[in-house]
């Protein structure tokens, strides 16, 4: 049974590489459509990751310092985009940021039209990927023994120093794992992007969208991009594994980190 299950899971992945010779896959990656998609994906995802890390890290830290019901409500709100169907996310982004949406008027006043631009791709990717980072980051901060920041403060460290010198290094592995997960999700983003940003080659067409378009046009290009994404995904998975192992393994590295959160 295990063999059948594993075969079922692995067969589609292996099949991508068996349809055409590897050399054809490599040359297909050189096509204009593939090159444009790589560029668009790299740009939009890089900016999205900067936004996710920049805003998400302090937000996750703040949430991790809350207690009880407030914390639970905040975590649930953060997790909502995680379980939301991508099509709903696309509609939501349209009616929030689109031309006729809630904030559309604001963008008009500013003379900005984000529809079908890279900005809309970045918004879509950030929206669907940030919960992955936030969730992991909140857990990583909460896993730090609360007496450590308390000790740092009695040693003369202000809040900022406690954050940068104690919390960030100790939660680092967890934050890295969360960032890798968010990046993987952003890379695969499809539904919300195609609805909110469209699929314009060289502008909003990311790798995932390019696969869908090349599916009908040049199937080998679709296969080549798929193969590329398999490699990247496998690499991200490896990073997450190494980081989470390091993180959970810290139980033995930090024998006293597992003490109670509630001092008597």
């Amino acid at each position: 049974m295990t063999g059948a299950a594993l075969l079922f899971l692995l067969l589609p992945v292996v099949a991508v590489f068996l349809r055409v010779p590897p050399s054809e896959l490599v040359s297909a990656l050189g096509s204009d459509a593939a090159q444009d998609a790589i560029r668009v994906t790299a740009e939009t995802n890089a900016i999205a990751m900067v936004l996710i890390l920049g805003f998400g890290t302090p937000a996750a830290y703040w949430i991790s310092t809350r207690h009880g019901g407030v914390r639970d409500i905040l975590v649930t709100l953060v997790e909502l985009p995680l379980v939301l169907p991508p099509a709903v996310a696309g509609v939501g982004l349209l009616v929030a940021f689109g031309r006729a949406g809630l904030l559309g008027g604001t963008f008009d006043v500013l003379g900005v039209d984000i529809a079908f631009t890279k900005v809309s791709v970045i918004l879509a990717v950030t929206f669907v990927a940030s919960p992955f980072y936030l969730r992991t980051a909140i857990a990583a901060f909460e896993a730090v023994d609360t007496t450590l920041p308390a000790a740092a403060r009695t040693l003369g460290a202000g809040r900022a120093r406690v954050f940068f010198r104690v919390m960030l290094p100790l939660a680092g592995a967890g934050l890295g794992a969360g960032a890798a997960l968010a990046f993987a999700r952003g890379l695969g983003e499809f539904g919300a992007t195609i609805m909110f940003a469209g699929s314009l080659q060289g502008v909003t067409q990311t790798l995932s969208l390019a696969i869908y378009e090349q599916f009908d046009l040049e199937f080998t290009v679709a296969l080549a991009i798929s193969a590329l994404l398999i490699f990247i995904s496998a690499f991200i998975l490896l990073i997450v594994k190494v980081l989470t192992r390091w993180h959970s393994g810290s139980g033995s590295l930090i024998p006293f980190a597992a003490s109670t959160r509630q001092p008597s």
Binding site: T154, L155, R165, P255, S259
Partner: protein, 344 residues
């Protein structure tokens, strides 16, 4: 020049409150069971917990005054806090931990030397023994040049083997430091060894404050007596004879006490005031009880022997001479003047 604390703060099932003064060079120990509110006092002094009402003054500087709305943040209080399990930073080495508190002053080398951790200055926290961890934590706490030292269960994370050596070291350190020191522990023996003044704390209230010998000789209530190591036996004071109170203990035995009481009482007696012998030997002691030995526990050069309802603490040498073994009938004796009666 002292630490003054006064506060009231609600805990889960009771209100904790205290009013304490610790002079410079003095060590005050708060001793009590876990959950009694001991750590709360330390957290309030350090600024990690703001009590519902109260004030903290250190060397004339007001650190906290809830009535005046003053609450100095922890990083600006000159407090050296030794946490229960030391709270060393696992991502820093020994020198990094000590330097964290020092903020650029040059005392780090001196402290590493003084606490004999210079040779392990590059070691990570997880590589250290319990005793080394404690020295690193002390060096780190002193690196910021504190005006008060707070010690939370400084010995509880150590095994019994290193404990007594570390305790002697700590005592020496506290004597040389000219700081007010506030220490909390659940172990009366640790408190008695390390502190000049001991406060017994239960349910957030300090029951009695005094020197260790005062607490042992004149405990103010049965809880303090138990905590300082006494056995507490329940009974009824049934009369007076020759100025002594006759107590019928629950279980049928009779004991005499030099304390006066009537009605239901608790009788407290320390194990080291109970002697053992093969028979009633007509000496000056008023209380004798013959019963089989139920258990014998060795504690270094001393032995604790359970005889009926009482525990006797005698030297290992005497235990050997008496040839004690479980089941053998011996007579436990104690003086009426060694007992304390507390009305129930």
């Amino acid at each position: 020049m002292a630490l003054r604390i006064r506060f009231t703060h609600p805990l889960r099932s009771f209100d904790a409150s205290a009013e304490l003064t610790v002079e410079r060079g003095e060590t005050l120990a708060l001793v009590g069971p876990s959950g009694a509110g001991k750590t709360t006092v330390l957290r309030i002094v350090a600024g990690l917990l703001r009590p519902e009402s109260g004030s903290v003054t250190l060397e004339g500087t007001v650190l906290l005054d809830t009535a005046e709305g003053i609450d100095v943040v922890p990083e600006h209080r000159r407090v050296g806090y030794l946490f229960q399990e030391y709270a060393l930073f696992p991502h820093l080495d020994v020198a990094g931990n000590v330097r964290f508190g020092a903020r650029g002053n040059s005392r780090v080398e001196e402290l590493l030397e003084r606490f004999r951790i210079g040779h392990i200055s590059r070691a990570r926290v997880h590589e250290l023994s319990g005793g080394e961890r404690q020295r690193v934590a002390l060096a780190r706490a002193l690196a910021r040049d504190p005006a008060v030292l707070l010690l939370d269960e400084p010995l509880s994370a150590l095994d019994t083997h290193t404990r007594s050596a570390v305790r002697a070291e700590l005592r020496e350190l506290l004597e040389t430091l000219d700081l007010p020191t506030l220490l909390v522990t659940h172990d009366f023996e640790d408190a008695a060894t390390l502190a000049d003044t001991v406060g017994v704390i239960s349910q957030g209230q300090i029951l009695q404050l005094g020197s260790p010998s005062e607490l042992v000789s004149t405990p103010s209530d049965p809880f303090v007596a138990t905590f300082t190591g006494a056995m507490v036996l329940a009974g009824q004071a049934i009369g007076t004879q020759n100025g002594l109170t006759e107590v019928r203990l629950d279980g049928g035995l009779t004991a005499w006490s030099a304390d006066r009481a009537t009605g239901p009482v608790n009788l407290a007696i320390y194990p080291w005031d109970v002697s053992l012998g093969p028979s009633i030997d007509g000496d000056s002691r008023m209380n004798h009880l013959s019963a089989p030995v139920t258990s014998i526990a060795h504690m270094g050069n001393r032995v604790r022997v359970h005889v009926g309802p009482v525990v006797a603490e005698i030297t290992a040498v005497s235990a050997e001479r008496l040839d004690l073994r479980p089941g053998a009938v011996v007579t436990a004796s104690f003086k009426a003047t060694a007992t304390r009666l507390f009305p129930r």
